[in-house]
């Protein structure tokens, strides 16, 4: 079975982000999306730790240890960016000012529920970070993840089995196999990766799928 690489997934997400949006990219795979937005298209990236207008990683020799993103990687500030403190940064998130947040996830349900912070009820000290704020606060929540777990279990599900991050928040999911919109009762397929068949997608998904007519 063919499918999108991570870079292709990141490029696919980037394609859907129009100029002028304020966007927070979650730690991990979503961070790659920024590299696929052309410089000529002004998208303003936000990092929870108080950076609005975040730019790419610094060039060698230009690193500033005082400028990191939420994933603790060294970054830069674009011309026009600004620094704020944590409460103001989360006011942007929680007040509904971000046009988009892209998060990774363990599971997404057809209801839009998302689980991305704790892998089981027995994990007593999981790290939530800003995930719940982002999931509840952004105008749109997209999830970017592999379609299944490493051992092949579906991550698009009828009901999340892992502890929830937020209820009914996800609008769209980008996986290595497809782009899917959350319908509330399942997922509507927007696009299949090259070589991925309807049957393959159904086999890898534990939720209702609606295909374009």
């Amino acid at each position: 079975m063919s499918s999108w690489t991570r870079a292709q997934m990141a490029a696919r997400v980037a394609d859907d982000i129009p100029e002028g949006w304020y966007v927070n990219l979650g730690i991990g795979m979503p961070t790659m999306v920024a590299d696929h937005v052309p410089e000529t298209r002004e998208v303003i990236f936000h990092s929870e730790n108080g950076v609005l207008g975040m730019g790419p990683a610094p060039e060698a020799g230009q690193e500033d240890p005082w400028l990191i993103n939420a994933g603790k990687q060294l970054v830069t500030l674009r011309t026009g960016g600004a620094y704020v403190h944590h409460a103001d940064s989360f006011a942007m998130i929680r007040g509904g000012h971000l046009d988009l947040c892209v998060l990774g996830a363990f599971e997404v349900a057809g209801s839009g529920d998302v689980a991305n912070w704790a892998t089981s009820e027995n994990d007593t000290a999981p790290a939530v970070g800003g995930a719940m704020d982002l999931a509840a606060g952004a105008k749109r929540l997209w999830v970017m993840m592999e379609h299944t777990t490493k051992d092949g279990r579906p991550k698009l599900v009828r009901r999340c089995s892992y502890p929830l991050t937020a209820i009914g928040s996800v609008r769209r999911v980008y996986t290595n196999m497809a782009v899917l919109d959350v319908t509330g009762t399942g997922f509507a397929v927007v696009e299949l990766a090259p070589g991925v068949t309807r049957e393959a997608l159904e086999a890898a998904t534990d939720a209702e799928l609606v295909f374009p007519a």
Binding site: I44, L52, G80, Y83, A91, G95
Partner: protein
């Protein structure tokens, strides 16, 4: 290229609907978005709810808007002041609804709207007639009252400098309600004394990041030569 600057007042006011909740910045005569208020008068929206610290003075600006019968309700901390003649006439005639809110609660209710807080408990006004009918809860041994976020459909603010991303700075006490109102509305329109090139504002000193601002119109203050 993102460019939030607009060329005309008509563009700045485009789409403001009848019945809107309009947040008006300024405190006293400092930081009042006079040109935008004149733009709103010209634009024609009516049945407005106005949130401002004062209820207008003389017969210009907000007072003029009220005199034209375009304001249904005003939410403010200090309605009756020297020269608030239009307010007094309309209010006495029963043609204007009034909600008086302590100044700090007014600011905090808009801060809550901007920050995604639905409601909050504050000790301010507990035991006074401004707390009548409000939920009371003791927290840490002190009675608090419940106040709700106050969202604007539109905020009209005055800034000192602005860039094309909508980043704003203010001048001295002109910051006042402007910075908090800018966060609390769906559509924030700023009049700015200076439009500066992107990158000219110090990222450590931007007061209102552009994420909170939708449109910027250049309006040097009257009589200003800088």
């Amino acid at each position: 290229m993102i460019d939030k600057t607009v060329r005309t007042m008509a563009e700045a006011m485009d789409g403001i609907q009848d019945g809107s909740v309009v947040l008006l910045g300024g405190f006293g005569s400092v930081g009042q978005p006079d040109a935008l208020i004149d733009g709103l008068i010209e634009q024609g929206a009516k049945d407005l709810v106005i949130v401002a610290n004062n209820a207008g003075t003389g017969r210009i600006g907000l007072a003029r808007l009220m005199e034209l019968g375009r304001v249904r309700r005003i939410i403010c901390s200090y309605p009756r002041s020297a020269g608030s003649v239009v307010f007094e006439e309309l209010y006495r005639a029963g043609k204007l609804e009034l909600e008086i809110v302590p100044q700090g609660t007014l600011a905090e209710r808009m801060r809550a709207a901007g920050a995604g807080v639905g409601a909050f408990f504050t000790p301010t006004a507990h035991g006074t007639r401004l707390a009548e009918g409000k939920e009371v809860r003791e927290i840490n041994g002190r009675p608090h009252i419940l106040e709700y976020a106050l969202h604007g459909d539109v905020a009209l603010v005055e800034a000192w400098c602005a860039d094309r991303w909508g980043n704003l700075t203010y001048n001295k006490s002109g910051r006042n309600f402007n910075a908090v109102m800018a966060t609390a509305a769906r559509l924030t329109i700023a009049q700015a004394h200076h439009i500066v090139p992107l990158g000219e504002l110090d990222p450590e000193a931007v007061v209102t990041p552009g994420i909170f601002v939708n449109r910027v119109v250049a309006v040097p203050p009257k009589g200003d030569n800088t």
